[in-house]
Amino acid sequence: MNDYTVVHEKAPAFFDRFARKDENQHQTHYCPGCGHGVVHKMIADALTELGVQQRTILVSPVGCSVFAYYYFDTGNVQAAHGRAPAVATALKRSNPESIVISYQGDGDLAAIGTAEIVHAANRGENITVFFVNNSIYGMTGGQMAPTTLLGQISTTTPWGRRPNNDGMPIKMCEMLSALEAPAYIERVALSDAKHILQARKAVKKALELQTQHAGFSMVEILSPCPTILKMEPTVARHWVGEVLAKQFPLGVYRDHRAEFVPVDVPQKPLAELLGLGGEKLSDAERQSRRKNTQARTIKVAGFGGQGVLLLGQLLAEMGMREHMEVSWLPSYGPEMRSGSAHCHVTLAHERIGAPVITRPEVLIAMNEPSLRKFGPMVQVGGMILYNGRELPEDLQFEGTTVHCIPASQIADEIGAAKVANVVMLGAMLEATNCLPLATARTVLADMVKNPKLSEMNDRALDVGREYLDQDVLALAVAGPDGCGE
């Protein structure tokens, strides 16, 4: 065929082979005559024509098209049922130059994901949604969808959908076009060649608008499901044109973005908002400022009311003042009411991935239950600081340095039980040297406004340190395993 030139062929936006399973990698998993394949081709061709394949991220839904990531040679994320517009929002905001497509069916978009699509549209997210509406739950075997027509038989409406019991078919284009933010909403159908060509234009236009940062675009595609409708593929698509499109009128529902009236809200730098002075440091300066600090993962645990969460906040705040990367993750909710409370603090020199600490380097256990629960989780070579004169007899921690500080008792003697956490802070700083003492004093002074308490905190800090020193001395005398400094 030397004299013939290729005008239409498999788009480069598709993988050569579809590696979903070992067999049948040369074809999709869709049934013969399925609308998904036709829509996939429209998208793939449009990505090629617009030259954006390399920066496209496709979010596949739950439904028959869940496997879209086996077909599109683009970035791919598979979202939980209905959540594709929310996932797409995050992808687009974190990668503003990417082209983000949320590909969804009617069960995904119009049933379980109604909230996500409405709010993504209402925020005017600069994403493109392809909404494939076949009026039925296809993958799960033909249950009623919100888009199922009145009188239409499904496995859950065996006598046909009745409005008094099952409500009315939901019209997403009409609904979303009532919002002000969307830029482009059109409904098309795969009923015949002419309409398929119109649909191709709509798909391309929606994507092109995204490249122009026009805002939210959605194309609803009425699509045949020959298998569930129990029709021949050709009959199924006639049905789409003659029946489905009567209930869901085709056309452009929105073709411009409403002009937003700009609201002038002065944007303060975050650091300024938090009263941190907004000091800007280069990486090198940051490194040098951190030289008096050491990275640590710390778990603080105790009863609610012992200042467990506050101690964590103090540590995190101190880390921040020293230009470290910090995170503070409290245990929330019913778990901590009148029961045990704990928090995770990470003091790091690198960016922190997850704030959850499963194996802490340092455990500050403000009571015995916390010690029993979290003590065994401390890393080998780590440290436990226990609020008590000595460990319970039946407990021992191999490979872990244990310091027992009767912080509650010390705090009582100072004059306020609530400063026990600061006693532990003093001991912990002395034992680990992970943060400068001066910073602790500054942070305490800043965070505790009550002058009387502030003065007690200062003393608590010192007594904690002194007690720890004596403890270390005693350990050093007691045997060679002490952490003797």
Partner: protein, 91 residues
């Protein structure tokens, strides 16, 4: 001689018949033979193909159909052998 032609990937075609119904030249047909997967795949049955691409647009399979057009300025006179090639590719 045809202004266009197509190639059907006999293994990828699922025999849904959408191209048969859509071809403006009535040029598509489902083969009476079964392919390896037990499907009657489509093939081009006449030489009236214009390379319009409608079969490609309505086909749900990404690579089942490839559409060719006669290169610009080409006459149809000397293309007998290409018809054979095209035919061979569809069977």
């Amino acid at each position: 001689m045809a202004k266009g032609t197509i190639k059907v990937n006999q293994d990828e075609c699922k025999g849904c018949g959408l191209c048969v119904e859509s071809c403006p030249q009535k040029g598509m047909e489902l083969s009476p033979e079964l392919n390896h997967y037990g499907i009657h795949p489509a093939f081009l049955n006449n030489d009236k193909c214009t390379g319009c691409g409608i079969c490609y647009f309505v086909c749900p399979e990404p690579g089942a159909l490839t559409v060719y057009k006669l290169a610009a300025g080409q006459t149809t006179a000397d293309l007998a052998q290409h018809a054979e090639v095209a035919h061979a590719a569809t069977v």
